[in-house]
């Protein structure tokens, strides 16, 4: 699991690469928490590099979304691979997470606000 952080205009993009499973969920959560603690309320999660996600990974995303919503921020997902999209679909997360095609589209959703 690799996470790259990039600070943009009013939001931070986190690019996730590899597997977000039960094993990697904890370090991933720690990294994301660090980002939030640094003052970011809006996060774009670029999942283009994410090959696999399990319910443990979804939990990290859910926790992140709940935290940010308390700070009037939000999480926007982008770049979902088909297999990952399927997991999101089954879990119903597609309806609770805003999903953009790519990072640029995701950035727009913040500016529109």
């Amino acid at each position: 699991m690799e996470i790259q952080s990039k600070i943009g205009n009013g939001f931070t993009t986190l690019s996730l690469k590899g597997r977000l499973d039960a094993v990697s969920a904890a370090p991933a959560e720690a990294t994301i928490n660090k980002t939030i603690e640094s003052g970011t309320s809006n996060i774009v999660l670029d999942l283009a590099g994410l090959d696999y996600i399990s319910s443990a990974g979804l939990r990290v995303l859910l926790v992140t979304a709940k935290k940010l919503s308390r700070q009037n921020g939000k999480v926007v997902l982008c770049g979902l691979q088909d297999s990952v999209r399927e997991v999101f679909e089954i879990s119903g997360f597609l309806s609770i997470f805003p999903v953009a095609a790519d990072e640029a589209e995701a950035a727009k959703s913040f500016q529109a606000k």
């Binding site: 597997r19 499973d21 039960a22 094993v23 696999y52 399990s54 319910s55 443990a56 979804l58 939990r59 859910l62 979304a65 709940k66 919503s69 088909d82 297999s83 399927e86 997991v87 089954i90 879990s91 119903g92 997360f93 309806s95 609770i96 997470f97």
Partner: protein
Amino acid sequence: MVLPMIRFLNRSLVHRMTALILLGAGLVMLMVLGFSYFSQRNKILSSAMQQSDTLTQSAVFQIEMPLGRTEAVVQQTAIFLEKKEYACAESTELIRRTLERNQDIFGMAITFSEKYIGQSDFKMLYGWRGTEGIQVLDREPENIDYQQDWFYLPYYLQRPVWTEPYHDSDANTLMVTYSFPIVRSGEVIAVVTCDLSLKWLHKLLDTLPLGKGGMSILFSQRGTYISHPIRAYEMTETVFSMAESQADPEMSASLYQLGLDALGGQPGFQTFKHPIDNQTSFIHYRPVPATGWVLGLIQPQKQVLASLVRLNEISALIGIAGLALLLIPALGIAWSVTRPLQKLSVAANQLSSGNFDISLPVIHSRDEVARLTDAFEKMRCELRRYIADLTATTAAKERIAGELSAAREIQMSIVPKLFPPFPNSPDIDLYAILIPAREVGGDLYDFMMLDDEHLYLAIGDVSGKGVPASLLMAVGKTLLKSTMQSVRDPARALTQVNNELSEDNETCMFITMFCAILNVKTGALIYSNAGHNPPFLTRVSGKIERLDEPPGAALGAFQDVKYHNQSILMHTSDLLVLYTDGVTEAMNPSHEMFDETGLLEHIRLEGHLSAKLFLESLGRTVNSHASGAEQSDDITALAVRCRSVTAMSESTSQYTSSAGRKPDSILSIRNLLEEMSRVTNWIEEQGATLDLPQSLLMNLNLALEEWIVNVISYAHPDKSEHTIELRVWRNSNEIRLEIEDDGQTFDPTAMADVDTTLPIEHRKIGGLGIHFIRKTMDRFTYRREKGHNIVSIAKNITGNSDNTGS
């Protein structure tokens, strides 16, 4: 006569009291009368006797007077004749003078005995009072009967003798003769006689003052009547002939004896029954010494006591008048006693009809009636208070009864009662009974299809009775059901419900609960027990198994109790029987419990019946065991069987390692999260080896991870190291994985589906993994074998490999 009298007296105290007073006074009067009668009677009798005695004495004296004079005359004459031999003329003169001087004497004679005839110039000189005055004649010896008493007796006895009285025809009167012998040198030479007329005797006796009914009799020493009220008897009858003529032998004998006594020579007194008038009479008799006669004076007792009887009659009349006067005060007393009683009786009648405000009679005295009235007043107050208490108690009782029926309604309305419960699933044979006790015991049962396959079952018993128990029962039942709907794990559900109930459980009430999930397709039964009676599982073979693994604590008793799942496989038509202690502890009047043996016996006999028939006959059996004893606890039971369990046997025959072929690959890992990378590597290897499409591999990977993470996280509460084994098979159209662990029982297939439509604030991750397995795999089954959980997941590979399941 007596009976109506007693009835009359019984009807009224007044009558009875009056009767008693009069009776007492009457008795005293009778006693005084009796005493005076008898004392006076004796006095009167003794005075009458004395009087009669005196009278007899004087009468005898009067009789003796002429007799004595006669004797004296004869003796004088005899003395003359003894001394000197008188010639006829002188003797005639003597006789004449004697007769002239003694008017009593009728005749006089001097008669020489035959031997001495010729001593003088006459043989027998006889002088008498003839019609022409006194005449004296010398009679010839041939005209003289020397054998007659008047001559013979003195001659023979050589002493003077009075003859028996006789009737003299010449004088036409009763006569008696006194004969005196003249003895010279031991020989009787002559006899001097005097004939005494007894005319005066009747006159004398008739004038005796004998009173009314009194009579006198005189009889000779032979008993011949000389004087008798019936003149015809005189000289013809004797006392003895009279006695013998009596018809009654007793009377005859007593008269005979009386005659003998009277002739005994002594005066006497006797009471006897008079033969003439048959009256009890007194007789005084006294001998006349000169002649040996006996004079008897007879007086009827009635006559003697007549005055006494009269006196008593007067006394009795006065007494009766007194009693009549006494009736007035007696009635007065009786009335004064009973009037308050009558008032009290009226008051009591009103009291009995509920009127407590009636006025009681005012009594100023301090007697028994007053005390009764006081007691009555006290009773009225007590009654009034008692009735008030009773009314309050009854109201309270009714309230309690109302509460009890409310409790029963709560209990009955909350358990499912619609049978058959699943008309669309004819394979499920389920029935339950709940017979509430009078004091509701708080039993409960519950069941529900969680999904097409999983049937939730529960039975429980709340400690305590009545409304609190039924309320806790309602809470426990609802809580467990809703928890089971989301948790779908008996042990976890019990743990949660226990924590919920035990928090702030101030009443310290608890529920024993048996909770299970039955997979109606596979027959897998996962259950957990919170202190409840272990159910029985009856195999088709007849074998009965007791699900008696050590249960956890009852719900609500302690916080943080851990419950564990157990599992068993039910085959087609096996019958699972859940029950509460109301069944096994049902008692008969001699306190014998129905017991588990009774239940087992019933299962043995009736276990083949449908659940409905089985439980209905169980109810009857328990009822007949109780045989009328009051039901002390709710009787609750639930029975369930699956008529066709197929899915499990199909899958096991096809895939189990023992029955089917060996797995294509096996991986053993430790229950650590780090081992997950080995699982990922292994499944990817399998994907390459078994030539699996990438998307399928990813789904398999996801399903495996979700379940294994679950096992690692929750299956081993001891946190020690365990092994989890993964096996894979592949055939032409399917790939199948089995994950086996030795952790606590948990059937993931029984878990409820998560709601994926909730907004983000309400979404939870729990249950999502199982949801993934269901969604991505074509088959997801669970079984428990030899203490191990075995989860089997399979995916079809023919057709669309991207099939996400449905």
